[in-house]
């Protein structure tokens, strides 16, 4: 065993001098920084867009609610009884409407799950 110990200590792998190694490292790190900066820029753009969308949604919501309170509308007269008919229809058939709605939900979840798996494999 002592011989092996000595052999290994005396024959460390010999490196060739490579002055370009650190230059190449520096070049790669600069590239990484470029990518990092671009990702950060896109992230901050996304964040700004999200904040604008939230603010716009809030403002529109407040506006719509205010309008609804200030100018109440008699739905029955506007819809010419249509909404009332829809309400009656739903009341009458609600027990049977559950089945198509449930079937649609199951189909949609299956389609979305399978679609998601396909995307994940890519």
């Amino acid at each position: 065993m002592k011989e092996i110990d000595e052999f290994l200590r005396e024959n460390k792998p010999a490196l060739k001098d490579d002055p370009t190694f650190l230059l190449e490292t520096r070049r790669r790190l600069e590239q990484v920084e470029g990518i990092k900066a671009e990702v950060d820029r896109q992230r901050s753009h996304g964040r700004v867009a999200l904040i604008i969308a939230l603010a716009a949604g809030l403002a529109l919501g407040v506006f719509a609610t205010t309008v609804a309170f200030l100018y109440p509308v008699d739905l029955q007269s506007v819809g010419d009884g249509f909404l009332q008919n829809v309400r009656v229809f739903l009341e009458t058939w609600k027990h049977y409407l559950v089945y198509p709605v449930a079937a649609l939900a199951v189909t949609l979840s299956l389609v979305l799950t399978l679609g998601g798996k396909k995307t994940a494999r890519l």
């Binding site: 065993m1 011989e3 092996i4 110990d5 052999f7 290994l8 200590r9 024959n11 460390k12 792998p13 010999a14 490196l15 060739k16 490579d18 190694f21 650190l22 190449e24 490292t25 520096r26 790669r28 790190l29 600069e30 990484v32 920084e33 990092k36």
Partner: protein, 159 residues
Amino acid sequence: MTRERFIDLVRVEQEPLRRFLLALCNGDAALADDIAQDALVRAYVASGSFLGLSKFSTWLFRIAYNCYIDHHRKARLDEVPVEAVLAVPADESTDAAFRYQQLYQALERLPGKEKAAIALFYFEDRSIKEIASILDMPQGTVKYHLSLGRTHLKQYIRL
């Protein structure tokens, strides 16, 4: 960590790191340097998470070892046989060149963990504790791999 600070630290560590990878790559200098570059990029990206709980070099070697493992796995999947140019310095005598060739051929036959333990212990003079941290295994397991590696090398190398 700034880029310049990182490069300063790498300047000190690049030689041992490249030598460690050279041993892992059985003397294929081009491949070893390629993995070293990948490891340095990975380390730089993750440098924000380096808390200084271990030595910078231990942390860097651990990343390099993981890079080597990843590359090894990928290479096994691709399995394209490439004739490696062994890193034997041109100015070495025939005797020394023969010894290096013997060493690399023997290392090639060792399992990855034994090879890594041997390289860190004998070529980089790392302590068992440091090796355990780099290879992410208990110290007892490092000793076991070292002992097994030595036994295997004794069979493969004619002294």
